[in-house]
């Protein structure tokens, strides 16, 4: 079987561990991938020390974008915000364990862009956040 749809991706897509919303939350942000309409919202709870204590994502999109969001959320719980600010494209691809062409890369990176835009308190999830 090919790498792109290796079992872990399909599994996280079909049975995500962190899909949902957090209410109350300290940080919430959502954005779309204009190319395909994929949508991701991310909610975070953060303690006084700036560490993420809980996180969820919600939205719709392809297996790559949704599995990537689930894996990303799983990885950031327990991390300080300062560390999240440093995450980039390569960290996410390592998490996914696959190689992606330019179009599908955007699907994979949407959750990281949304996460970082939320952490930085920006109005829009731009590409420059993950380069």
């Amino acid at each position: 079987m090919d790498d792109l749809y290796r079992e872990v991706i399909i599994e996280h897509y079909k049975n995500p561990g962190y899909r949902g919303k957090l209410d109350p939350h300290d940080i919430s942000f959502a954005d779309n991938n204009p190319l395909c309409g994929d949508h991701i919202q991310i909610d975070l709870r953060v303690d006084a020390g700036g560490v993420v204590t809980d996180a969820r994502f919600d939205g719709h999109g392809c297996a790559i974008s949704q599995a990537s969001a689930d894996l990303l959320i799983e990885s950031v719980i327990g991390k300080p915000l300062e560390e999240i600010k440093k995450l980039n494209k390569d960290d996410l691809l390592e998490l996914l364990g696959i190689e992606l062409g330019p179009v599908r890369l955007k699907c994979a990176l949407l959750s990281l862009k949304v996460l970082k835009a939320g952490v930085y308190g920006l109005g829009e999830a731009s590409d420059s956040l993950v380069e």
Partner: protein, 410 residues
């Protein structure tokens, strides 16, 4: 009586259809609605133009300039004839359908529409026939209203008739939907609009490649289309306009070729069609456009339409058999060669990606028709589309591929 096409011979004209997308996997190209493939005749004509005749047009008197001008203008004559325009002067070269619509929005509409004027569009428009009007709305305060799409993918003409009572200044609609495939009753829509004095603009990006279009019989005021969807090159399209309207319109872009005379502080615009063609145009592309029209004419638009109908009927029938597949748009008798669908539990991007591994090229997304997808409460669809070179075997490959996708996400 339409003849069935000799697909084997036709496919020989499209060398790209023989290529492999990866070792041992031959291309199955089902994305002609996005752009068609190009026959050797077009590729070679453009190549020959650059090898033998390349020169700038209209101003030069040397042999090559004369030759290039004749080829550029000759192509315009062929295109005019292809859609039965009353004169080649009514064919304005543009970059594509989008630019043709923008030409009307910038030139005609900005000269003729004021705050509060109504423009009627439809819910099935491509973004290219929405955004220019959104921009004009922001600038001018025009009003927009929309002919709704019924659940089976047709325009609701009863609502259209009611909208016409508000005397729109312009009605702009697609002749054939790029997602649903719906072939709209353009003649009737135009006749009804004309009864209340509206100017009628038709987005013909999908219709001109696939149907016999007669702009005089339709009585369209403006008709926009692109070469690249009809076996021609990218980078060139056309706007057909009735000459009385085009004569009265201000130029769209300023520069060389569109002028009769220039002084330091003023200019006089050129006559039609040059008034709207500023700067050095896409000459090789115009040549290719003309040859594409020759190619389609030689095969015959009625036969092409009949072939596509046969393939589309077969595709809809086969796709419908697959559990979890939901098709969008009307039945085969009311649509062109497009099958947009969703597969339950699998995002269209994943469908397209997995099909690609078998060399099958389909499109996934909102196909530049986001409002239409919102109407059907879906973020995206997968879309297979067919043209004169498509075969039933390719439909079978698509269906087999979809079963594989289902298995993977099972």
């Amino acid at each position: 009586m339409p003849m069935s096409l000799n697909i084997k011979e036709i496919r020989k004209d499209f060398p790209i259809l023989e290529r492999e997308t990866q070792s041992g996997v031959r291309l199955t190209y089902l994305d002609s609605t996005a752009t068609s493939q190009k026959p050797l005749q077009v590729i070679e004509a453009m190549n020959d133009y650059y090898r033998r005749s390349n020169a700038n047009i209209h101003r030069g008197v040397h042999t090559l300039a004369e030759e290039a001008t004749a080829m550029y203008e000759g192509a315009r004559e062929k295109i005019a004839k292809f859609i039965n325009a009353s004169s080649p002067r009514e064919i304005i070269y543009t970059r594509n359908t989008t630019e043709s619509i923008n030409l009307v929005a910038y030139s005609w509409a900005r000269a003729n529409l004021k705050q509060g004027d109504l423009v009627i569009l439809t819910e099935m428009e491509h973004h290219s026939n929405l955004v220019p009007w959104h921009m004009l709305q922001a600038e001018r305060g025009i009003e927009l209203d929309f002919i709704p799409v019924t659940d089976d993918g047709l325009l609701d003409l009863e609502v259209y008739k009611a909208l016409l009572k508000r005397t729109p200044k312009l009605v702009s609609f697609t002749h054939m939907s790029n997602v649903l495939g719906t072939i709209n009753p353009a003649g009737e829509i135009i006749r009804l609009g004309h009864e209340v004095g509206a100017i009628m603009l038709v987005d013909g990006a999908q219709s001109v490649p696939h149907l016999k279009v007669d702009v005089q019989a339709l009585d369209a005021d403006f008709y926009a289309f692109s070469a690249h969807k009809m076996c021609g090159p990218t980078g060139i399209g056309a706007l057909h306009g009735k000459s009385a309207l085009l004569e009265a319109m201000p130029p769209f872009m300023g520069g060389g070729d569109m002028i009769k005379e220039v002084k330091l502080r003023s200019f006089r615009p050129n006559t039609l069609p040059h008034k709207f063609e500023a700067g050095t145009p896409a000459i090789a592309e115009a040549v290719g456009f003309g040859v594409a029209v020759d190619y389609l004419t030689k095969i015959g638009m009625d036969d092409i339409a009949a072939h596509e109908h046969e393939i589309t009927s077969y595709a809809l029938e086969r796709l419908e058999e697959i559990p979890g597949v939901k098709l969008f748009g009307p039945s085969a008798d009311k649509k062109g060669g497009v099958a947009a669908f969703t597969l339950e539990g699998v995002h269209p991007h994943d469908v397209a990606q997995i099909l690609d591994r078998d060399g099958i090229a389909v499109r996934a997304g909102h196909h530049c028709a986001q409002p239409l997808h919102e109407k059907f409460s879906i973020p995206a669809t997968s879309r297979a589309s067919f043209y004169l070179y498509s075969t039933k075997e390719e439909v079978d490959l698509l269906v087999n591929g979809l079963y594989k996708v289902k298995e993977m996400f099972g």
